[in-house]
Symmetry: C2
Subunit: 84 residues, 2 copies
């Protein structure tokens, strides 16, 4: 694995796993005041489209990363709507 | 431009621009209670690495998308630290 692939893999991992602490914080605190509903609506749709893109191009890393991110972002979006 | 490229372009646009409403909301309301410091730390580092990856592979869409996202995510991170 060369340096560029390592950088891309770490980047993909971080931008995916980053949503886990936000999801846990929102579930724990039930405080979504500061969170933007518009952000998570746009972002969740965007990540869903990345998932479709990954399926079309049969790109496993894109499929896996966006499957996880979609689950986390969708959870935050549902909690935001619920505690709005 | 075929369908797959269109889907990827719209996905990239949405997951980039999604951070604009969060940035504006945080600037306007100065309320970062519900926002996870860990998320934006991990995410900003991840997006920065995507930027490095894009520069290495000379991939203009990846460079542009992550340059915008980095600016927005970094702004939210700074505001979160400031109003913590």
């Amino acid at each position: 694995m060369n340096l560029v692939t390592i950088i891309g893999s770490v980047a993909a991992f971080l931008t995916t796993i980053a949503f886990l602490p936000q999801t846990l914080k929102t579930i724990r605190e039930k405080n979504t005041d500061g969170i933007s509903l518009h952000m998570y609506t746009l972002f969740t749709v965007g990540v869903f489209l990345w998932l479709i893109y990954g399926l079309y191009t049969v790109d496993i890393p894109i499929i896996l990363a966006n499957l996880v991110t979609f689950g986390l972002a969708m959870t935050i979006l549902i909690l935001k709507i619920r505690y709005h």
